[in-house]
Every structure is written in C-alpha cells, then in structure tokens.
C-alpha cells in the first residue's frame, strides 16, 4: 500500500455540508494526488501537490480544494458537498526514486452524499 493511509474509509453526509478527506503518507514523498473513481469514467485527477503548499488543479477540480501544510498530509475538502460528488476517492503518491513516473495508490475513501 506504499505507506499510504486514507481517512475516513467510508463517509455518508448530506448535501451542503463540508467534508474533508485526509491522505497520510509515511515515506516523505514529494508528489501526492487526489483522484475520484466513478463507473463509466475511470479514475480522474482532482488536484495534485508537488510540495508543501504547492498544489495544482487536475481535470475535475471544480467544487474541491486541497491543502498541504506538511509533507505527510494532503487534505481534500468539499466546501459544500453535492450528490454529484458521491464517489470513491483515491490518494496516490509518486516516489522520486525507482520508476519515477509511477504513482502508487491508497486504499480509497467511499463518500456518499445524500
């Protein structure tokens, strides 16, 4: 699991409430990513980070924000959750060593917005 934990693993929330998902890594990797996975769409990049306080948008960033105040934690926030954000969210890291382009994924968070 590449030393990645995600929390919570499951969450049910109501439309309009704020939600924060946490990705934690133990190996000091510089690059971290948030994806969502939906039937019929595959995995799509939401945001990514290339260092503390350095983040950028992916292809489906609307309605999401991220923060990275420490190397080990990358937070994904839904400011006001909508039913269209019901999905499975995966965090990934990219080690600087080894196959340098390879991303390794966490176990995922299943989010349901009612």
């Amino acid at each position: 699991d590449a030393g990645i934990t995600q929390s919570p693993r499951h969450k049910v929330t109501e439309t309009g409430t704020p939600v924060t998902l946490r990705c934690h890594q133990t190996e000091n990797h510089r690059y971290m990513y948030w994806y969502r996975q939906d039937p019929g769409h595959g995995l799509r990049l939401i945001h990514y980070s290339y260092g503390v306080k350095d983040t950028d948008k992916g292809e489906v960033s609307d309605g999401y924000s991220v923060s990275r105040s420490k190397t080990e934690d990358f937070l994904l926030t839904l400011e006001s959750a909508t039913s269209s954000q019901t999905s499975v969210y995966f965090c990934a890291i990219r080690p600087a060593a080894g196959p340098t382009d390879t991303q390794y994924f966490g176990p995922g968070t299943r989010l349901t917005v009612l």
């Binding site: 990513y33 595959g42 994924f105 176990p107």
Partner: protein, 111 residues
C-alpha cells in the same frame, strides 16, 4: 484531448485459457504507459510501466507490450486469483503530472 480506450470492457475466461487485454491511446509525446490491477473495494495496484515501442515487461502470468498506438496485457494460463479489473493509464509530455486512465477491463477467471 488525450484518449485511453480499453477493450473489452469485460472478459470471462476459463482457468488456463490465455487471452489479451487491449489499451489503445492517443497522446502527443507519450511519457509512459502504466498497467494497474484493482480488486473490488481496493486501490489500484501497480503492475508495469512501459516507456517505448517494442518494450515488454513480465510478471508471473502477465506480460505487457507496447506499440506506438496501443498496449496489450497478455495473460497466460490464468488462475481464478487473476480475476480483477485491469486499468491502463498514460502520462504525456515533459513535466506533465497527469495520468489519463482508461475505464478498465473487468476480468473473471472461472475455475
């Protein structure tokens, strides 16, 4: 726009029946093609990275190959434990961080 298309969407085989999964792509400046395996309720598990046409990688019963337009994941004499969804992704361009994923092939191996 970058496109990654996997076929078939689903494949059911008998144990020991070899086959291939296809991943075709259209990107400008391929910087890597990646294969992952995903079991239900889990995150994708990295299998292979291929960088240039003609390259091949093997792991147990799996062999990945790459041409200029597509990649194949060959499965030889599969076992039921090879049942999973197999995902293909491409990374394009210098400095690009984005992986573009296909929708996956759901493989079922019957005993």
């Amino acid at each position: 726009e970058d496109q990654v298309t996997q076929s078939p969407e689903a494949l059911r085989l008998q144990e020991g029946e070899s086959s291939s999964l296809n991943c075709s792509y259209t990107v400008s400046g391929l910087r890597g093609l990646f294969w992952y395996r995903q079991d239900p309720g889990k995150g994708p598990e990295f299998l292979f990275t291929l960088y240039s046409a003609g390259e091949e990688k093997e792991k147990e019963r799996l062999k990945a190959t790459l041409t200029k337009k597509e990649s194949f994941l060959h499965i030889t004499a599969p076992k039921p434990e090879d049942s999973a969804t197999y995902l293909c992704a491409v990374r394009e361009g210098e400095g690009a961080q984005k992986l573009v994923f296909g929708q996956g092939t759901r493989l079922t191996i019957n005993p």
